[in-house]
Amino acid sequence: MNSFLQLTAVVGISALGAGGTYLIKGPPVRTLVCDPARLKPDEVCLSQVTEPVLWIDARLRREWEMDGLPGSLLWNTDPKEDLAIFEATVAERLLETPRVVVYCGDESCGISRQVADRIRALGLAEEVKVLHGGWRTLSEAGRIKGSN
């Protein structure tokens, strides 16, 4: 058997194996997986969040208005926004709900961490965490209106 036939055989067997796995196990899982053991100290998995918490959306206002988590408050770093209003609104709510979870677009968005620092600086929250996976995690969990 020459080299080309050997290669064809190996590729063919590999393809059969991959196809069989796809048929039996289904397509690869594309949803975000949150491993509590691999979280950064200020992060939390959605499965670890116990209500009541104050949800803070750190995305842009139009995104929050379009598909923010129901009941969440807006706090972002957009220069067009009034930081004083964010502070006062959140401070008021922290008196009743002192545990906070901040989320932004996805894992690579660093705004939620900056907003979490600002909320901690208010000195009114018991605990401030950043949601691992951000809005995408909430959407995949069906927590966003219109998502699965």
Binding site: S3, F4, R30, E81, A84, L95, G105, D117
Partner: protein, 224 residues
Amino acid sequence: MKIFVVLWFALAGMLCGAGLTFPEPLKEISAGVEATTVTAEFDFKNETAEPVSLTKIDGGCACMSVKTSGGQMKFEPGESGKIQAVFEVGNFSGTVDKVIGLWLAGNSSDEPSQQLTVRVHIPVLVTLEPKTLKWPYQSEPVTQKIQIRMSGPKPIKILSVSSASKIFKYELKTVEEGSHYELSITPDHTTTPGLAVFRIETDSDSPKHKIQQVFAVIPRAGKP
């Protein structure tokens, strides 16, 4: 058999795209007091023997725009390039890490193949310590103080302090004009839970340092 092995490794190489080499994957930049944007540039080179194609570059948020020089997305072996990241300072303050994700052709689209970091140091001109004063419910209504310090290149004066609260009295003392102030706050009593907001207006040229806020709180019984 040798041909087979060579072909096999060639196929494997196609499935796992090689990366670009960045001498400095972390760039630290200090933003000026008035800066609205800061720019970081990352030089890189394709040091592999194969062409490398970028399928996506993402700054992670609307505050960061990222592009390659000339919009070029494919780099031949030995070719150099540059990635330019423009960060909008906005309401950020202190030290901010922004991560740029690079997706290379042939790699998984779930996660970036390579990451770069822009670390921006944004000056904090006015510090309020602490930001919030608390009196436990039904405790002694003692006076507490907030230290206000200015650290910019120019002095920043406090023009006024205001609050709509009827429970708290306040007094501003100048420790050093343009540099250090002390705000004393005293509740009339601590039997009415509530939150008071104190707005501090400064003469800072920087709009985001013009208005500052501090809080005074009497929590409900049983709340921290």
